[in-house]
Subunit: 483 residues, 2 copies
């Protein structure tokens, strides 16, 4: 059963010569996979349960060679994956894994450094501080923002709003909880991400504790409606405490007027959290730096390098001007985690839900260095250009219409379906979407805007070229032709 | 500035030939690093800020070659890391990165599959279900437990307790929040992990909403004290709703009497969450399966393969018998994430805080296959044996004493410091700890038990052999000699 130098010895790790051989082979395989990703179907034609039924229902009792396992990855896993690396991936927010990040993740796994305390990973803790400060500089945020990595924007928004709750004077939610306290209310536009609502649920504020503010015709929060809502709520006995502004909404990438929202927050003493998960990265492009205008006044802000800064999931950058409040909301240091350094070096576990923290900074550091600030800007600029090119094609076609501004790399559009009822036109758009996605050459997703089904083309993959966008447009028009 | 085939082209990824060359070289480097980890100091002798001051304060404007970046990892990062791979790492819960997991993480980064929806990663979603079911079988949990991966046990405990809150009849915390509602209270032993208290803070229950139940002389929750506390709280107007039992506490790895606690929970209709983050993995050893006795009645349970099942951080396995409640607590599906498959295939984003979910199942699948169930059991059995050997040495030494049972791979002990005051003896133990850790050959951490400073030797690294444990004991005795 145990084959020396091929499988494992009875104790210890897999022998390292096998690791070397299989690791080198895997590097080559990954290079071929990335090169050939566009020849795979973006979305696999598998039925729910199909992959699972091909895998053993019980765990293997004995060791199997790495070679066999890796062959099974190719045979059993790859055919069942949606290929986010495919240059025709235009769904949700398209994103990228890149060579330096892949090596960075392998290294992080090898080090297995847990950056919970400074002492348990000094270099990981300090590299995290350095690289988040680089990103701050690259996006034009002022000094005074403290950065810490969270896994996802959902977690980061939870952290920001937990801090906002902690900052409510006289509440002491940390100790006393919310029962018997003031009725808290927070605000976000009706276009804000579901993670804001989810944070409200988790924090015990409830869905009723989130008031959704109407958006204008371009899907941006109306700051006057916000001010009115806050005044109404105060009069009705609520305690307003936080506003989440969105820079780059998920549906249409609209940008809330953060400067005006910050004014309301300052006047009303509300915590301002900014969800710049998608669009924040674009501020590395000098001419797009306007995106974060007003954000210098945010109490907390999140942007996701794993969305549009060429690192694989997960890596969300959380910034706050009030780290002491975040720490007050989260820090619990049991005796077994006390260290002599805690007064002089940050223990990053104090700034979020999780205690264990993997070495995520490494991949971002490697990506920023491998591409350089100018190289990152060039890639994002190209994505925006490709989206504008696509938009111009849609605008020129009488059968289609663009339905929202496209300030960045996402275009929202629809098949007009002239002469059809709204519901019927919606069905036609869904049909077009299904047909394009079934082709395996492109993958788009949909949303609803103005209560109509809308198609989204989102550009964000580093391997996407103009020809891939053109092919998607061709597929869309072909799918619309019979309708 | 741009060197072809060495740095990057102006757009796209780093060229893949460079990736191949540097990737192979990095695999070799990692093999050498793992082989030689014991020649590095476990804890680096760096001062806070020292690593940071050696790194550029500003991001690089232009691309740098991968080769340079990887050379800097060796030059600037490695000397500042605490080496969790060192076989003399005995602090906290020692854990392991292993060859199959390192390759699994590289692959997961390359695929960059986001398992938020079934559709966005069918194979990742289904492999996650398969591999968590394997782990369920290996640890002897009955069918009917639904498994989903969270990043850390802290997040998993938050999810379990959020579900518990959702399950309180008539509360509807999701919609209404907690203000004006019944005063919720939950229970855990005074030895429970800080993540239980943190979950209470986050959920709006507050520190006052957690009542800590006294532990017995062996640091286990006293179920009669629990029953009394619940009765008292009900009489005082509280609404008890959840109990967290711990299987393997962080300080001493004590195991709460889950069967008796489950009785109380059944009688009082309380959600039973089990924190088996460390010790759950040990149930893969047939003769240690008793650890999870009673856990078949848990409503939710967490165990961390990244603690003692040879995968690097992060991978926490969350199980629940009531997935519909977890989903009711967390699911929010905005229009742009609706898919045709959602009624027949699980979308794993519905079972936790985060929307984005990386392909964590891959590394666990590869580790279980590369070692086999029997191989995993053999390694854990050896760790327990090594701990018992160490314990016997401490017991035989009149200058030291064992201060808690050692059912698993952690030994809590102390230098007696005969003739000293308790505070002075505590200082002597701290001195011994500092001295051993300064050696660079071993790294232990401390805790407090019975209000005394206690040293912990935790075995969990796959590379730890008896000679490493013997060396740690030698260092401890040497450090104690002058005292």
């Amino acid at each position: 059963m145990l084959v020396p130098a091929r499988a494992v010895s009875e104790l210890g790790d897999v022998d390292l010569e096998t690791f070397r051989v299989e690791g080198r082979r895997l590097v080559d395989w990954i290079a071929r996979y990335l090169e050939g990703a566009e020849r795979l179907p973006v979305v696999p034609r598998v039925r729910p349960g199909e992959i699972r039924s091909g895998l053993p229902a019980a765990p293997p009792p004995h060791a199997e060679p790495l070679e066999t396992i890796l062959a099974d990855v190719e045979r059993q896993i790859v055919p069942g994956l949606t290929h986010w690396n495919h240059p025709g991936f235009f769904a949700y927010f398209a994103n990228s894994s890149t060579a330096p990040a892949i090596l960075g993740e392998m290294l992080a796994a090898a080090f297995n450094a847990n950056a919970m305390l400074w002492k348990t990973a000094p270099a990981a803790t300090e590299l995290e501080m350095v690289v988040l400060d680089w990103l701050r500089q690259m996006t034009g945020l002022p000094e005074g923002f403290f950065g810490v990595i969270q896994d996802t924007a959902s977690a980061a928004t939870l952290v920001g709003l937990a801090a906002a709750r902690e900052a409510v004077p006289g509440l002491d939610a940390r100790r006393r909880g919310l029962v018997g306290q003031a009725r808290l209310r927070m605000y976000a536009s009706e276009e804000a991400h579901s993670s804001v609502e989810k944070a409200g649920i988790v924090l015990g504020i409830g869905q009723e504790g989130l008031r959704k503010i109407p958006a204008d015709a371009e899907f941006r929060m109306d700051p006057r409606a916000l001010a009115r809502a806050v005044a109404e709520d105060r009069a009705a006995g609520w305690t307003p405490f936080a506003v989440t502004a969105t820079v780059g909404t998920t549906s249409s990438t609209s940008v809330d007027p953060v400067t005006e929202i910050a004014e309301v927050c300052a006047r009303e003493r509300l915590w301002l959290h900014v969800d710049a998960a998608y669009a924040g990265s674009a501020a590395v492009v000098p001419e797009l730096r306007w995106l974060l205008r007003g954000c210098e006044r945010a109490d907390s802000l999140v942007m996701n390098p794993h969305k549009w800064l060429f690192v694989p999931v997960d890596l969300s950058a959380f910034y706050t001007r009030r780290p002491e409040v975040v720490k007050a909301a989260f820090s619990l240091v049991p005796e077994y985690l006390r260290t002599a350094e805690e007064s002089v070096a940050p223990n990053l576990m104090d700034y979020g839900v999780s205690l264990g923290r993997r070495f995520r900074a490494l991949k971002l550091w490697m990506v920023i260095r491998a591409f350089g600030a100018a190289g990152l800007a060039a890639r994002i600029r190209e994505h925006v250009r490709l989206a504008q090119v696509f938009r111009s094609w849609v605008e020129a076609d009488p059968d289609f219409e663009v339905v929202a501004p496209s300030p960045l790399s996402v275009v929202c559009f629809r098949f007009r379906g002239r002469g059809r009822s709204p519901a019927d036109a919606d069905r036609a758009n869904q049909k077009i979407l299904d047909s394009v996605n079934y082709s395996g050459e492109a993958y788009l997703s949909h949303t609803r805007l103005g209560d109509r089904t809308v198609l989204r083309l989102a550009i964000g993959n580093v391997r996407t070229e103009e020809r891939h966008v053109a092919r998607a447009w061709e597929l869309l028009r072909e799918a619309a032709r019979p309708l």
